[in-house]
Structures are given as structure tokens and as C-alpha cells.
């Protein structure tokens, strides 16, 4: 009886996790141009939340984390590349302008459209992740993308946030380096 009970409990938990995994809505695309790996990624789950936050006047900061993992058979995958790209939106409700700031390059831009500011945070286009030359062409790699969001202008959330905030998994894409190498040649 106890075994049956534990079976249902485990089954229920796994079903729950599986269902949660299915509900993650993200879209990640990778393309390699001129020996550089670019990634286009967009989250749909966060759009309403981000629009609500910046629409109510709260600054918001996001970090897109791109990791290239070398696939290993009998061990955990090894991270060979990891970059974080930050973006920030600071609303000005009185003038109804949203300051869009790219933390990686320091570009600042105002917009009067809240949705534009929202898309500035929830979309990352043409993000240069790595140069193909640093990767072993005989190995298999995965590109994993995570999105870290937090309200406010502070770029660092402290050690507690780094421990508790594991980010939103935006999915992983297999890298076809052989095709890229052929194109490059």
C-alpha cells in the first residue's frame, strides 16, 4: 500500500514538472555568420509582466545569459563560453518616456512607446555569443540561454539573489559547427 502511495506521489510530481516544462514558451534561434555565433532569442512569458512593470513606472533590468556547453557522454556538460548581456529600461511616467539603456555597450535611447521598451527587454537579436574558432570542431556543443530579470536599476542583486535566482531557462540549441566551418571555408 505504501509503495503504491509513493508511486502515485512520484508520478504526480514528475507529471507536474513535465507539465511545467511544456508550458515554458520561448523561442531561441542560432545562426553563424562569418565565423561568429549569433543568437536571436525572445521570451513570451515575460512580456506581460515586463510591460506591466515598466508601464507602472518601475525601472527594470534584464540579463541575457548565453552559455555554450560542450556535450560529454559520461560527465556533466562543460561550459566553454559564458556571456551576460544586460539591458535596462527606466520609465518617466510624467513625460511618458522610457529610457532604454544597453548595459553592455552603454547606448541610451528614449522612447515614447512602452511596448518598444518592453521588446527592448524581452528580445535579444543578433547577440554575438562566441567566435567559432575557439570551439573544437570535433565536439558537440549546446547553446543554453537564460533570462534573469529583476525590478530596479541596480545591476547587481547581491549574493542571495545569485543563489536563489536561477533565471528562466530559454531552452538550448545544438550548434552545427561542421556546417559553419564548411561555410567559412
Amino acid at each position: 500500500m505504501l509503495k503504491v502511495f509513493l508511486f502515485f506521489l512520484t508520478f504526480s510530481f514528475f507529471s507536474f514538472a513535465y507539465a511545467e516544462g511544456d508550458m515554458a514558451a520561448e523561442e531561441t534561434h542560432v545562426h553563424i555568420e562569418d565565423g561568429v555565433i549569433y543568437c536571436d532569442v525572445q521570451t513570451f512569458n515575460q512580456e506581460a509582466y515586463v510591460l506591466k512593470v515598466i508601464g507602472s513606472g518601475s525601472p527594470m533590468t534584464v540579463f541575457w545569459q548565453f552559455e555554450i556547453l560542450q556535450v560529454r557522454d559520461f560527465w556533466l556538460d562543460k561550459a566553454v563560453v559564458s556571456i551576460r548581456l544586460g539591458r535596462q529600461v527606466i520609465p518617466d511616467l510624467v513625460t511618458q518616456r522610457w529610457l532604454m539603456r544597453d548595459l553592455s555597450v552603454g547606448v541610451v535611447k528614449y522612447t515614447n512607446d512602452a511596448e518598444e521598451a518592453m521588446h527592448f527587454l524581452t528580445r535579444m537579436e543578433q547577440a554575438a555569443v562566441a567566435d567559432v574558432s575557439i570551439l573544437d570542431k570535433d565536439a558537440d556543443f549546446l547553446l543554453e540561454t537564460k533570462l534573469f530579470t529583476h525590478e530596479g536599476e541596480d545591476e547587481e542583486q547581491g549574493w542571495w539573489a545569485s543563489v536563489t535566482d536561477w533565471g528562466e531557462d530559454m531552452g538550448s540549441v545544438s550548434l552545427q559547427l561542421s556546417q559553419a566551418n564548411n561555410d567559412a571555408e
Binding site: 502511495f5 502515485f8 506521489l9 504526480s12 510530481f13 507529471s15 507536474f16 507539465a19 511545467e20 508550458m23 506591466k52 512593470v53 507602472s56 513606472g57 518601475s58 520609465p91 518617466d92 511616467l93 510624467v94 513625460t95 511618458q96 518616456r97 535611447k109 528614449y110 525590478e151
Partner: protein, 723 residues
Amino acid sequence: MQSNHGLAPFLMRIIPFIGVTFLSILIYFVWPSSDHFGPVYLNWINIGLLFSLAIWLFVFGIRRLQSAKEVGVNLRTKLVTVMVLMVLLPSLVLQVTANQIINKGFDVWFDVRVDTLLDKAMNLAQGFYQDIELDMELSLKQVIDTHDFPALEPTPLGSLVLNQYMEKQLHKYGWDKLELFDASERLIATAQKTTQNQGLEDLTTQPISDAGRLSIALGRYTIDHDIRDDSEYVIGYLPLFAQRRLVGLFRAEVELPKEITASARSIEADYRTYKELDRHRQGIQDTFMNTLMIVMILIVCIAGVFAVVFARRLTSPMEDLANALEQVKTGDFDALVDVQGDDELSSLALSFNDMIKRLKYNMQTLTETQSELTNALVNSRQRQYVLENLLANLHSGVILLDASGEIRLVNDTCKALLMFPERSQEKVSIYDFSEAHLKPILAFFETLQTQDLDSLQSELVLTYGLQTVKILARGTLLGGEDDVFSGWLLVFDDITQLADAQKHRAWAEVAQRLAHEIKNPLTPIKLSTERVKRRFRDQVDNVKVFDTCTDAVINQVERLQRLLADFSDLATLPKPNMEVTTIASLLRELRELYSPYTNLTFEGMPDGEVFCDADQIRQVLINLIDNALATKGHVRVYVEVTDKDTRFYVQDDGQGIDESAKEHIFEPYFSTKAEGSGLGLAIAQRISEEHHGQLLLLSAAAPTRFCMWLPHVQASDVKEGEA
């Protein structure tokens, strides 16, 4: 004291409750929130399963606690449970109430009216900024529509016309500052409202912003905002074209009133804060509730720890008492408990210690008494054993009677002596002596009892079947009314042989004396009489008479001499020379001896042997047969062999024996015949008794029957008896 207070057992006991706590936390995390994304039924299934598992673990933990063999654990568990429930239930009520209050408070806090008010305030602030921007737009439009600005190229820098134009526009549209840049973004003219305390440093020019460049690119005016030096400005850019060529850029600037911008920024900050709070309303609400719940759990845990400590302190003395009691049950009376404090439990411990001390003293006393009693019992049993052996080996029969006549003790000798019937019931009282041969015993006891005698001695004759036993009975009153035991002691001695021996010795002495006294003068009398007869027979006148007289004297003397010889035989009867003799040889000799007699028949010739002096037995039988033949009747002689004895019967069908003579027939000198000496049957009976048998007159009336029975005694038995 044995202790079960180790850390490991304690951890093993609380593991189920740790599991319950873990499951409760898990339930909390699985509980679906209001903004839960996805299907909720899985959460409820998980919650149901986790809750069931938590309940099962809790019950298991409680049962595990209750099943522990540690003394007092049940009471401790109950105390802890009650105390935790006493804290938990009010805490739960408080938690529910607080949750309700928090919910209501949040509803009031985030009321729609507040939301609307803040929206309106925000709209007002935004409207103010929009109005300023609109004014700027209208102003710039009017500048464009009027076309009254001078041509820039022919106008030299700092020309009066341009300055006048700038001043005019500044005052016309109420701007605070108006700047004119050429196509190379160089400032060529500026107009500014003068204010008090304004210095030359205030004439610095701000660089063209992105909005300005955007206006150049778009070819139309743009509006921008700038915040500097704690002031906000609305800036309008207006590109100037001549023949579709950019020749200049107007930048008009209006400083917003600080009071209004401060208020607007305050409204914005409040609006943002309110929206943040509203957005995190559920989180804040959860934080409040979680804080309350954590506080409640902490209180319950502290109460639980306090309850455990308190219950342990409360039950520890009882546990010590119970352990001590267990030790006492095993016989260890050194199990004293520690007395701590001055409360009821310490008083109980003191009383327990006193009780144990008294119990120990009593047990020691009891042990000593038991030892003494055991020794006494051993001695008593030894005495009883000695007494029983003594009684068993005693040749006297002993009966111990209590006051009511109940038999308390009777030895085997008594049973044999009194000839208790073997198949009769076990006699428990003297009044059970209902058999005929035991009547004299009962009469003896009744005499002793009714006459209230301290002691009594009497000779009794018991007749049981063919046996007649003479007994010397002695009775003694034991104890008195105040003694532990009162009753009678009856002692019986078989004096049959002693009486017979005394009787025979008396008769033997009489016979010897008579023989001695009478035999001596008889011979001279006889010799004198014969001498007188020989000498004086011729001299007497009447010879016949003389002969008759002398013959009579001589005959009587001879008769007296024979009589004296019988007396002598009776007195000096030799000891029988016992040997094994066949019954057939005895009877055969007698048959030959009495062959002339036709009225005598020997019936049967049984096999078997008797251990006797054949001559003496033959003499007895001859005496009996002679007596029978004297009756002139038919005489029968026969023998019966039983398991115990051999019985010789002599029967005649004569006239029988008178009742008066019957009792004296075995007494010496008693004879029914004129010529008999009266010693034959007496000698015959003595010979029988010398052979451990008896001669009895079974029937005095016709047919007269005598019986001589001889026991089957072996030579070895006789020798042992003689020894």
C-alpha cells in the same frame, strides 16, 4: 538507575515528526497561488498525497512513542501533545484571524478609489507636461506660420535685427530661453529672460540633443525634455530651411515651475510605489502570512521544546519511581530514588523511600523468621520422622485421639494388633470402631472419657475369627483446656503370650510343688501298703476286705503317681523340636495306630507340609482322637490347608459338651471323665501355642469339633524369632 535518555534514541523518536515538518513545508510550497500558471489539479493531488503521508507519519511517530518501553513515555507524550495542542489551537485561530485581517487590510489598502485617485493624479501631472509640450508645439508652429524671422545668411552674427527678433519671439511665446544654431550647430544668437542673481556662467549653452538632430533629420519641430540643475525643461527644436537647405536651428526652452514638477514627480514616485506594492501585493501578503506562520511555528516549536522539557522534568521522578518499583519487584530493596525539590513528587519520593526501607526491614525480618521456621520445620519433620519410625517400630499399638475422638495418629502395629479389617474404610474416629472385635476398645475409650479419668489401664480380650488376643490397654489424657492440644493417648500391648506364659508358669510351679510335695510320700505309702499286704494278709480275718483296701490304697497311690507324672509333663513340657513334616506321614501313622477302631475315619490325605515337632503334634491329635472315641460316636479326622495355616479337625457326633464345661475345657484339672486327670487338653493347647498355633473348640454341641491350626512357619522364621 537505568537511563534511556541517549541522543540516538531521541533522534530516532523525533525522525517521524521531522518528516511531518518537512512534508508540511513541502505542502506549503506546493500550495497553488492565485497567480499560478498551469493546471491546479496536480497541486491538489500532491497536497492530498503529502498530507496523507504526513498524517501517517504523525500517527506512526505517536505509536512509536507509545510503544517505547521507557517508563513514563505515555504520560510524557500525552503531556507534550496536550501542551502543544494548547498552543497550536489558539495559534491556528490567531493565524486564521490574522490572515483574514491582512486580506481585509490589503483590500482596504489597495482600494479601487485609491487606485483611481492615483491614476487621476498621474493623469493630471502628465496633462501638465503635455500642455507645456503642446504650447511649445503651437508656438513653434506659429513661428513657422508667421515667416517673419530674418534671413540668417545675410544677417551677421550678433546683428541687432536678429537679436531684436530673438527678443521678440522670446517674449511673444513666453519662452525662457531661445537659441539659434547655424547648420554647423554653432550658436549664433541667443535670447534669455533675465532673472535676479544671474551671472555670465548662466549663459552657457547646452549641446544639441538627439531630439534636435532628429528634428533636423525629419525637417520638422521636435519636443524634448531635459532635467538639469534640479529643474525640468521643455525644449522645442525647430529647423530653419532656406531653399530646402538647412540654415539654422531654433531651440526654445521653457523651464517648468519647480513646485509643479516637484509635485508631479512626487505623484509619479507615489504612483510607482503604489503600483509596485500592488504588483507585489500577493507577495507582501504572503510575506505577512508567512511571517505570522513562521512566528506561530516557532512559538509551537518553543512550546513543544518547553513541553518536552517540562514533561521530562515532571515525569522524571515518576520514571525513577517506576524504575525503582521494578527493581523492588525483582527483589532489590536498595532501589532508593533521589529526592529533589520540595513539592508533592519529592514528598512522594520520600514516602517511597521510607516504604522501601520499611519493606526491606520487614523482608529481612521475614527472611529471618522464615529461616527460623524452616529450621523449626526441619527439626519438626526430623522429630516427626523419628516419632513415626519409633511408632512404626514400636511393638505397642498407639492411637492418638483429639478431644472429639478423631484419630490423629495410629501406627501400623496398632492396626495389626487390633486387626483392622483391610477392606474397611479408613478410620478417622474412634467411633468408627464398629466391628465386633473392636467394641472393647471403644468401650475402654468411653470409660476413659465418661469417667473423666486421667489414665486408665485394662486388659482386653479381642476375638476376631479364630484368633483371640489379650491386650493390655492403657489410656492417658493429654493436655488440658488451656493447652494447644488435648486428647487421649491409647497404648495397646499384646499380652496374649505373656498371660499364657504366666499362667503356664503358675501351673508349672503348682505342678512341680504338688509333684514334689505329694510324690515323695506316695512311694513310701505304696511300699508300706504292699508290705502291709504281704505281711499282714495272712493275719487278717477278712482277707477279701483286706485285699480290697490295700489294693485300693495301692491303686490310688499309683493313680496319684500318674497324675503327678502328668503334672510333671505339664510343668516340664520340652521345647518342640521343629522340623518339616509331611501331613500325609502324620495322618498315615495315626491311621495305622487307630486301625482297629471302626468308628474312626480319616478323610482325605492332602499334600503339604507342616513345620512342627511331629511327636508333640501327634500327641495332641491322639489326645483329641481319644477324647472323641470316648464318646462312642463316629469320629472324623480331616485336614484343611489354607494360604496361612494348616488346620487339623477332629469331630465326633457324641452327646456334645455342656455349656458350663465349655469355658473351662482347656483349663488344667478340668475333666468331664471320672478317671481323667484334666490335663490332656491343657497340654494339647500348650503344645499348639508352642507351635505358634492354637487349639480351639469350634463346636461344643453335637457334633463336637476341635480344631488345631498351625501357621506356615519356616525354620528360618522360627530361628529368627528365637534369636
